[in-house]
């Protein structure tokens, strides 16, 4: 165990750092953290300095008294509880829906959601501490949780999930007052750290599950224009929060084109960073017939 901490084997991404330099090997990670913290800061300068660029929270916000943004998932729950919101909220939800159709559904998770900072930290610590072993819950569980939240809304006639949703609890807690919400968040953190690898975001969170449904149809995708150059270092699998999405496209399983169309890819771009061979790149879901490197002709057009 100590050996891992000290020297070998090298941590995932070491090869990429050697090949591209530290900055290039962390480009998307840095941009992503800037986005997550930046968005949080935009919200926070309101209550902190009375600088009201954005009002509200992730469930609904109003930017510069002009742009309404609403979380389509919470609106869906409201509808399930048989309440039709006013135009303002519906417009906001439509805008957000369109936005994520463009940038990738679970881009919400990796570029916006504040809980992701927490769960990423738990994962980082898990690796640092060399914690092995993980409980087994299947990844599709999150869709059951998603379904459950809608049923709970319909049956109770209220947006029941909002009572314990760690995502909105954290965001609301930071902007308004946190109260005992920290206990819920601590539970999520400890669960991810000690019980299960990528436990919350990768297996349970219904918010992520909802955005992955948008992701099924979204435009921005991870492409693998140089998948033939892959040297099986497995670094991308090691850093990816949803490693199961990589294999089909990387290994051309069943003629999968060189683009990750799996709904649960979060468009975090970590795979781009850590790959020393530059296999991955951001692109769109279309034009999957990139010039195949060294005879990978089976890359079929979509």
């Amino acid at each position: 165990m100590n050996a891992i901490l000290k020297t070998s084997p090298p941590r995932p991404g070491a090869e990429a750092v050697a090949a591209k330099g530290w900055l290039a090997a962390h480009k998307w990670l840095i941009l992503r953290r800037c986005s997550q913290l930046g968005i949080l800061l935009l919200f926070l300068v309101g209550p902190w300095f009375s600088l009201w660029i954005v009002k509200g929270n992730l469930n609904f916000s109003y930017t510069l008294n002009f742009l309404p943004l609403a979380d389509p998932y919470v609106i869906l729950q409201s509808l399930a509880a048989r309440q039709v919101p006013e135009k303002m909220a519906l417009t906001g939800a439509a805008i957000v829906l369109l936005l994520y159709l463009l940038v990738g559904g679970r881009a919400y998770c990796s570029w916006v959601c504040p809980v992701n900072l927490l769960t990423d930290f738990a994962y980082w610590l898990r690796v640092r501490l060399g914690l092995k072993g993980s409980a087994h819950i299947s990844r599709p569980t999150r869709y059951w949780v998603l379904g459950m939240t809608l049923v709970a809304a319909a049956v109770s006639g209220s947006i029941a999930w909002e009572m314990i949703n760690p995502v909105s609890m954290l965001h609301r807690g930071l902007l308004f007052s946190i109260g005992l919400a920290w206990a819920v968040l601590l539970a999520v953190f400890l669960f991810d750290l000690f019980v299960m690898r990528h436990g919350w975001c990768g297996h349970l969170c219904p918010v992520g599950a909802f955005y992955s449904l948008i992701g099924k149809f979204s435009l921005t995708r991870i492409k693998l224009p140089a998948r033939a150059a892959c040297n099986d270092c497995m670094d991308c699998f090691a850093v990816c929060p949803e490693p199961q999405v990589i294999r089909p496209a990387l290994k051309a399983i069943a003629g999968t084109p060189p683009v990750i169309l799996e709904a649960n890819c979060t468009n975090c771009g970590r795979c781009i960073d850590v790959c020393s061979k530059d296999v991955f790149a951001f692109g769109t879901r279309f034009n999957t017939t990139v010039a195949p490197v060294t005879g990978l002709a089976q890359a079929a057009p979509k």
Partner: protein, 286 residues
Amino acid sequence: MDNETKPSAAARRQFLADTARMACGVGLLGLGVGLYAQHAKALPPAAIRPPGALPEAGFSAACIRCGMCVRDCPFDILHLAKPEEPMSTGTPYFVARQLPCEMCEDIPCVKACPTGALDHSLKDINKSKMGLAVLVDHETCLNFLGLRCDICYRVCPVIDKAITLDPQSNARTGKHTLFIPTVHSDHCTGCGKCEKACPTEVASIKVLPLYMAKGQLSSHYRLGWVEKEKAGGSLVAPEVEHKYNMPEGMQYEHGKGLSGSSGAVPPAPTPAAPVALPKALQGSKL
């Protein structure tokens, strides 16, 4: 994706077991969330919703806990419920005794609400029904004790409609008037200014949620005098004139009070002599 080969019987069993486990777990979680949500549906009495809030059942379905109302309230009276507070987490409320609603004419909180959880059809703040003030403690209200505190009446933004001072005889002194603060539910908005201003250590008048504050007559009840007016005449035929059974030589006339018919008034049996009769008993001569 990974199962390109046919799963073995053992793998299928494992899959079924996993699915069952997952369904049970998620089901239990759902039950927990549902019960928790149900539990939080009744609002605690000290928490008052902002103006225009839908009735509680609709509100917890419509409010998306965004806090826009909180942000746009110029007096900063609103809070979003924390998870440990016994109501739907993240929904807005205020506590009148801390900071009451100032009843802004343009109702910015309602305007800010993107969902209609605060009903946009509320245009006149005087028509809002956040709750209802109730003079909860007759033993501590200073006016009930015979003083002229009157503060709740004076601070009421809908003075003389939502709250009036109704004179009543002071039975303790036998010669003074109590001015009883009386709230009228058809005009009280539940803003809570009276509760905030009440000088007793613990407020003697409190705003309560409507469901707690308001009684309701049985549906078959009819108010005789209202029916009579509606019908334009007595509904009881023949109308019997009311007669008072008075001791000999005494008369009581509605609106005029007690009088002796012939000469001196004989001493009354009670210590309260006719002159000292409580004013309220003397009819409308006041």
